[in-house]
C-alpha cells in the first residue's frame, strides 16, 4: 500500500507546484480505460460466480487461460517498456515500484482471506463494481461491505502481523 502511494506521488507530483491541475486533464482517459476494463470483465465472464466456481473446481481451462495470457501479455509489455526506457505521455519516466517483501505474512494471510471472499462472492474488487453496472445491484451491498472490510483493516493494522 505504501509503495503504491509513493509511486503515485512521483506520478502526479512532478511539476505539481506550478501546475497542480495538470493530471486532472487525464481523468477522462481513466474513465474511458475503466469503462473498457468493465466491458472486458463482462465479455470475458471473469465477473461471473459460475466461472470462479469452475476455476476453483479445476473443471475448465478458461480462467487459467485468461489469467495466464493476461500475465504473459503484461510481462512482455513491461519488458518492452523497460528495455525502451519509455516515458508516460505526461513525460514521467515509467517505473513499477516493487512491493516490499518483509516477512511475507501480510501477503500469505491477506491473500488467503481475500481468496475466501473471492470464492464466496464470486467476485474480486473490479468485478464487484462491474456486476453492479450489469444490473446485479445487490453487489452494491458487497461493495459497501468490502469498504467496511478495508476500513477495519486500516483500523486494526497496527495489531496484525506483517
Amino acid at each position: 500500500m505504501s509503495t503504491l502511494s509513493v509511486s503515485e506521488f512521483q506520478g502526479c507530483g512532478s511539476g505539481g507546484a506550478e501546475k497542480p491541475e495538470a493530471p486532472l486533464r487525464f481523468l477522462p482517459v481513466y474513465l474511458l480505460l475503466g469503462a473498457a476494463f468493465g466491458f472486458v470483465l463482462s465479455r470475458s465472464e471473469v465477473l461471473s460466480w459460475f466461472r470462479i466456481q469452475e476455476m476453483f473446481r479445476f473443471q475448465s481451462f478458461r480462467m487459467y487461460g485468461i489469467i495466464g495470457s493476461a500475465v504473459a501479455t503484461a510481462a512482455v509489455s513491461l519488458a518492452l517498456i523497460k528495455a525502451l526506457k519509455l516515458k508516460s505521455v505526461q513525460g514521467v519516466a515509467i517505473s513499477v515500484p516493487p512491493k516490499v517483501l518483509g516477512s511475507g505474512i501480510q501477503y500469505a494471510a491477506g491473500g488467503t482471506i481475500f481468496g475466501i471472499g473471492w470464492a464466496l462472492t464470486g467476485a474480486c474488487p473490479g468485478p464487484l463494481f462491474a456486476l453492479v453496472g450489469n444490473g446485479v445491484t445487490v453487489m452494491l451491498a458487497a461493495a459497501i461491505s468490502a469498504l467496511l472490510g478495508t476500513w477495519s483493516y486500516g483500523w486494526i493494522k497496527p495489531k496484525v502481523p506483517h
Binding site: M1, T3, F39, G65, V100, C124, G126, F129, A141
Partner: protein, 187 residues
C-alpha cells in the same frame, strides 16, 4: 460483429486484452494497474476517522483510481445492453453446483444467493456481506487483489505477489470445498 459485443469472448482474446491495461495505464500516467487500492482511497475520502492508514491525500494518490473504478461500473452497464446473458459453464461444474443446491443458472451469479431478497437468508448474507467484507479486508492486508498481484505483480516477477496469489488459491479452494457446502447446502 454484434456477437463480439454481446457474446462470450474466447480466453485467448479476453486474457491479452486484460493484460494490455498494464502498459496502457503506465503509458498514460505511470499508474500501476490495480483496483483494490481504490477501496482505501474511498475510505480515506469518506471516513478516514482517526485511522493513521487513511490519513493521506487521497485526491493526489487515488483520484485517477476512483475515476477508473467509476468507468468499470459504466463499462459493466454498457456490456449489459446486449441483453440478458447466461454463462455456459462446463457440464462438470453444472453437476457439482446442482449437487450443492444451485438450480438457477440463468444469470451472471446464482439468484438463490445474489438478490436483495436473498440477502435476508443466511446463505445470501454470507455470500454477499461476509464475502464482501473478506474481499475488502484481505485485499487491504495483502496490499493488492487479482489485478494488482496476479496480473501486475506476477508480470513484474515479484515474490510478494506470488505469495499473495498462492494465498488467493488456498483461500478460494478452502472456501469452495469446506465453506460453500455448509453455506449453500446446509442452512
Amino acid at each position: 460483429m454484434t456477437a463480439w459485443l454481446s457474446g462470450e469472448w474466447p480466453w485467448y482474446v479476453a486474457g491479452p486484452l486484460i493484460g494490455l491495461f498494464v502498459p496502457a495505464l503506465l503509458i498514460v500516467g505511470n499508474k500501476v494497474f490495480g483496483i483494490s487500492a481504490s477501496l482505501s482511497h474511498l475510505c480515506a475520502a469518506v471516513a478516514p476517522g482517526k485511522v493513521e492508514y487513511f490519513r493521506y491525500d487521497w485526491r493526489r494518490a487515488g483520484l485517477w483510481n476512483l475515476v477508473f473504478l467509476a468507468g468499470v461500473l459504466l463499462g459493466g452497464f454498457l456490456a449489459s445492453q446486449g441483453g440478458p446473458h447466461s454463462i455456459h459453464i462446463s457440464d462438470a461444474t453444472h453437476a457439482s453446483l446442482v449437487k450443492l443446491g444451485i438450480h438457477d443458472f440463468s444469470g451472471l451469479a446464482p439468484r438463490e444467493l445474489f438478490t436483495w431478497h436473498a440477502l435476508l437468508t443466511v446463505r445470501g448474507f454470507v455470500s454477499v456481506v461476509v464475502g464482501g467484507f473478506l474481499v475488502g479486508f484481505g485485499t487491504a492486508y495483502a496490499a493488492g487483489c487479482t489485478s494488482g498481484h496476479a496480473i501486475s505483480g506476477l508480470a513484474n516477477v515479484q515474490v510478494p505477489s506470488l505469495i499473495a496469489v498462492i494465498g488467493f488459491f488456498a483461500g478460494g479452494l478452502a472456501a469452495t470445498y469446506f465453506i460453500l457446502p455448509l453455506v449453500i447446502g446446509g442452512v
